[in-house]
């Protein structure tokens, strides 16, 4: 049982902790993602959600272990993690604002050299986000917030990730735009992409997520099954303890 279940795990995080200088920002965390699963990481501002994402990628010094399909993900080497197929759309999107939309997408496929495969991915991303197609030669910084988020997701998809990590994609966006982006993420998940979705606004993602981890003051407070959450009060109970 355990052998087969670890086999279907795309990502496994064991005792992962992180600190900035002497400040411990993340206490040892365990979580896992099954192949094709969309999980949510919820928690209030400052709970350590972004630190957890950065820790998985190795952007910050960490202790503990991250394995991808049974292989160790190197620490302090985000480019190597990306090469394995773990791609993070960071908090604040991290688009290259002075560069054009097309250049941003091109850099998303930095590790790819096959031209035909590149053209295929490019078409796929532009058909998923048709609005980007009209803006290819504009600088990324001139896009609206929603379009920038689409660009950030599109850029991540250019690398054809095996698992996509999204750090608060809803941040600063209008409800209608959030809904559009979440709907695309649901679509990608149904096509088989494993996703970790970090959100502060839990109701947004509980419909999408199979499981949710609740993060509170730097450690996992609970693992919850979204189907059992019936009301906001019940969720508030998890937030407030």
């Amino acid at each position: 049982m355990s052998a087969s279940s670890t086999h279907s795990r795309i990502l496994e995080v064991e005792g992962l902790s992180a600190s900035y200088g002497h400040v411990e920002a993340l206490r040892p965390v365990n979580l896992h993602v099954e192949e094709g699963e969309l999980i949510a990481v919820l928690g209030p501002n400052g709970a350590g959600k972004s630190t957890l994402m950065n820790a998985i990628m190795g952007l910050v010094p960490t202790q503990g272990r991250v394995t991808f399909r049974g292989r160790d993900v190197p620490r302090r080497a985000p480019a190597a993690a990306a090469a394995l197929g773990i791609v993070l759309v960071p908090e604040g999107r991290g688009i290259f604002a002075p560069m054009t939309v097309a250049e941003n997408l091109e850099l998303g496929a930095y590790l790819l050299s096959d031209k035909r495969e590149y053209a295929r991915r490019y078409e796929r991303v532009l058909s998923l986000f048709p609005r980007l197609k009209e803006r290819l030669t504009q600088t990324a910084g001139s896009l609206s917030g929603g379009e920038q988020q689409m660009l950030a997701v599109g850029r991540a998809l250019m690398s054809e990730p095996k698992i996509l990590l999204l750090d608060e994609p809803s941040l600063g966006l209008a409800p209608r735009v959030i809904e559009e982006i979440l709907q695309k993420l649901g679509e990608l998940n149904r096509q088989g992409l494993s996703i970790i979705l970090v959100e502060q606004k839990a109701p947004l993602v509980l419909k999408l997520a199979r499981r949710a981890y609740l993060l509170s003051v730097g450690s996992i407070a609970a693992e919850i099954d979204p189907r059992t959450i019936k009301s906001h009060d019940e969720l508030a109970h998890y937030y407030l303890g």
Binding site: M57, A79, L88, I95, M99, Y110
Partner: protein, 290 residues
């Protein structure tokens, strides 16, 4: 009088182009890492000295000696990054420490060159040994054409590299947001090494181009680095094109100061321009990059 002024403006443009190339070297490393590399002058000095050594010690023709020198200096740029900058970077040292370390590297290279090659100034033959061209009564010597021509080619090549190649775009991405670049799988540290190589190569080109009109010795690096640094500030730090414009402005101002005020005022002119910009337009001609 008019002739003299026009003639000195011309020579100022030549020297200014050299300052500009050195200034661009500052920008390339600064954009990639935020480090102001004070070892930039060492690259300029090594360019001239190694070309001279290649010609006299190995008997190489000038073009071969020059290309060899540029390659060696570019590699020494990588070595600087690996040996001096990287260990500090990985340890999370502050910018100030890394900048100071490059200054230390400048001194080490300068002293090693003194030990290896002595303190005698050397020069290179002019690239094209023909009498100056006469255009509208002005004498334009061929070395001026070499300097301006090579600078233009180098700048056009750099612009093309940063705008059209994947590696160039990746380097720009690193300068915009290093973490986001790494998340795309871009090898950020290799890009940093490449920035040092490019910048060192630019310094070497500058050193080789200018040596026939002046001389080179173990200690020419620092004055050139200072001029290139001023050019970069005047242009808007981190803006390669701005640095080149700043270099030309600086070169012309120095040339005019020599004509009207005397040779002693050369550095006064340079520092005055620096102060003027710091007071009136601290972000430089094009606005600083960060």
């Amino acid at each position: 009088m008019f002739d003299l002024v026009a003639q000195s403006i011309l020579s100022g443009i030549g020297v200014g182009a050299i300052y500009g190339l050195i200034g661009i070297g500052f920008c390339v490393i600064y954009n990639a890492s935020g480090i102001v590399n004070f070892a930039q002058g060492a690259f300029v000095m090594l360019g001239g000295m190694l070309t001279h050594a290649g010609m006299t010690k190995l008997g190489l023709p000038l073009p071969l000696a020059a290309i060899g020198a540029i390659a060696i200096v570019a590699l020494s740029g990588v070595a600087l990054e690996r040996i001096v900058v990287r260990p500090l970077w990985n340890r999370g040292s502050t910018m100030f420490v890394m900048i100071l370390a490059t200054l230390a590297a400048q001194i080490v290279v300068e002293r090693l060159t003194l030990i290896a090659a002595g303190d005698q100034p050397r020069t290179l033959p002019v690239f094209t040994d023909l009498p100056p061209l006469r255009v509208f009564g002005f004498a334009i010597n061929f070395q001026f054409l070499w300097i301006v021509g090579c600078s233009a080619i180098v700048i056009a090549g750099l612009a093309l590299f940063f705008s059209s190649t994947k590696t160039g775009k990746a380097m720009r991405a690193c300068s915009i947001n290093r973490d986001a670049a790494a998340l795309q799988g871009i090898p950020v540290s290799r890009m940093l090494a490449l920035a040092f190589a490019l910048s060192a190569g630019l310094g070497a080109v500058a050193g080789i181009l200018i040596t026939p009109t002046q001389y080179t010795a173990f200690n020419v690096g620092v004055p050139f680095a200072i001029s290139g640094f001023i050019a970069a500030i005047v242009g808007g730090f981190g803006r390669p094109l701005g640095a080149f414009m700043g270099g030309i402005l600086l070169g012309v101002a120095q040339a005019l100061a020599i004509v009207f005020l005397g040779a002693a005022f050369k550095n006064v002119a340079a520092l005055s321009i620096l102060l003027l910009f710091l007071f009136v337009r601290p972000t430089g001609l094009l606005g600083s990059a960060k």
